[in-house]
Amino acid sequence: MKSTTRPSDFWLGGRRISEAASLALLVPFAVVLLIAFILPLATLLHESLFEPAFNTANYARAFAEPVYVRVMGRTLRVAVFVTVAALLLGYPLALAMSRAKGLALTLLAAAVVLPLWTSVLVRTYAWIVLLQRNGLINQALTSLGIVDAPAKLLYTEGAVVLAMAHVLLPFMVLPIYSALRGIPEDYAKAALMLGASRWSTFREVTWPLSLPGVASGCLMVFLLALGFFVTPALVGGPQQMMVATLISQQVREMLNWPFAGALVGILLAFVLALTLAFNRFIRIERFVGTRT
């Protein structure tokens, strides 16, 4: 397939940019990723496995000591609760969005997109304000007489779940909305003509066809929740330690890099395994968009 004489111009390879030029364009990208992504991760993982010689003691420790096992268990548990909460709250919203038009759609979309792009610190701070001892919720509860003294809302597992569900909700809504919008209206109409009730139509037609979006959203929220740092740190505090806050503690207070590295390694392995397993639903290549 190669031509017998070389094209005269470095940039031109006929209709496309030549291979050499394409490579040149990708070099800065590769360099940045190598220095600021691959190298740091490799160094950290190296620390966890080679201090000084190859051993998996740090990894074993994570699973051996009950404290750490509890932390991992809590992380998983919270992640599951957050995913379920986000699904229960997010699906109706996505459904309403898929049926909305014009101004209503714009408003609903704005309501989802604005929190998505607002700093996570702003949103977490808002939850702290709400859940504090003299925060709004406690004020409402005491003034309505439901409780006698302000309840301890902050620094509980429930608070963490609630705040994280709020922060991660847009990641659930958007894929489900996208999947629902892809369902042609005619399907529901056909089902109704054939005698199905609204609920049956939803159960037999809409819900199954939206499953790829649901799976996508659940996976994203779950994975994000596993590694989440800011919200558990501020809303959960040291009593509700999760993997991310544990890693932080090991690094900043204990200066135990190898163990922190092992925890990161475990987290990464889990995340990567899940991603690969569910790649069928998300199909990363299409998501990236290099092939249409």
Binding site: W11, L12, R16, I17, E19, A21, S22, L25, L26, P28, F29, V32, L33, A36, F37, P40, T43, L44, P92, L93, R99, L108, V113, L114, W117, T118, S119, L121, V122, R123, Y125, A126, W127, V129, N134, G135, L136, Q139, H166, L169, P170, R198, L224, G227, F228, F229, V230, A233, L234, A244, I247, S248, G261, L267, L268, V271, L272, T275, G289, T290
Partner: protein
């Protein structure tokens, strides 16, 4: 109601029910962010309902506090640098992927998606390890590199979308008119994808400016990002100055989103105009 229902009663009922839930969720989504706004102008330290007065003292406290202003300026700086570098690097990469010949596209795709999949805590701690040894913590260079990596995937997605939408034949036409590759890019390709590139730059800025986890770890005592300062404040002394900062940040986000929306519409209009040419009779 004298007007007959346009849909069967069951449809209206279930429609109302699901809409009610949806709007309840919307309130849930917006409420927390919305309450910080009245709090930022309340003279009290804790938000009360009904609010007791109006005061801008928390805003003036912010503007007179060295630490707050320094961290804001630092975040602005890193945001601009990171946005610029991510946009340039990302646009080049997108061009190569769409218009070039790349062997091993799958590896490139993995590298693009990597920073999205890997949890930020992992990246934060890893970067802290390396930066600490290289004395890059708290430096503009360190932050710029870290935030560039985090913003690159989004820049590439956005520019890729813009590149796919516009007609590649325009480049052929430019070449046939005598323009070399670089001039074709400058005169034809770039103007056509400019809305996408600008909106990518905007989002890269916001990603960097709001980035909380990595910047928490790679800040140092004298040079910290705004999110890091906010984190410290929440942890140690939760003052309403935070409410003022939060309000300003939210307004900034709204402004950026509107600008991004405007750019995307511009890009859509350009693409439609280019395709209308082929369909016009």
């Amino acid at each position: 109601m004298s007007r007959p229902l346009s849909r069967p009663p069951s449809a209206v009922a279930s429609g109302l029910a699901s809409r009610a839930v949806a709007y309840a969720v919307v309130v849930f989504l917006l409420l927390p962010t919305a309450i910080v706004m009245p709090m930022s102008v309340s003279p009290e330290k804790y938000l009360q309902f009904p609010p007791s007065g109006f005061s801008l003292k928390w805003y003036s406290a912010y503007f007179t506090d060295r630490d707050w202003i320094d961290s804001t300026l630092f975040s602005l700086q890193t945001g601009l640098v990171a946005a610029a570098s991510a946009t340039v690097v990302g646009t080049m990469a997108a061009l190569a992927l769409v218009r070039g010949k790349v062997r091993g596209k799958s590896i490139v795709e993995l590298l693009i998606v990597g920073p999205v999949i890997v949890p930020h805590i992992a990246l934060a701690v890893a970067m802290f390890l390396v930066f600490d040894r290289l004395r890059l913590t708290g430096t503009l260079l360190g932050f710029a590199m870290a935030h560039t990596v985090l913003a690159l995937p989004f820049v590439i997605f956005t520019v890729l979308a813009g590149l796919y939408r516009y007609d590649a034949d325009l480049e052929m036409a430019a070449l046939s008119c005598g323009a070399g590759r670089l001039r074709t890019f400058w005169h034809v390709t770039l103007p056509m994808i400019l809305p996408s590139v600008l909106s990518a730059a905007l989002f890269a800025f916001i990603i960097s400016f709001d980035e909380a986890v990595v910047s928490f770890f790679i800040s140092d005592l004298d040079h910290k990002s705004l999110p890091r300062k906010m984190f410290e404040d929440i942890d140690y002394d939760i003052s309403p100055v935070l409410a003022g900062v939060a309000t300003m940040l939210t307004l900034l986000t709204i402004a950026v989103l509107i600008a991004g929306h405007y750019f995307r519409q511009l890009s859509d209009r350009r693409a439609a105009a280019a395709h209308a040419e082929g369909a016009a009779k």
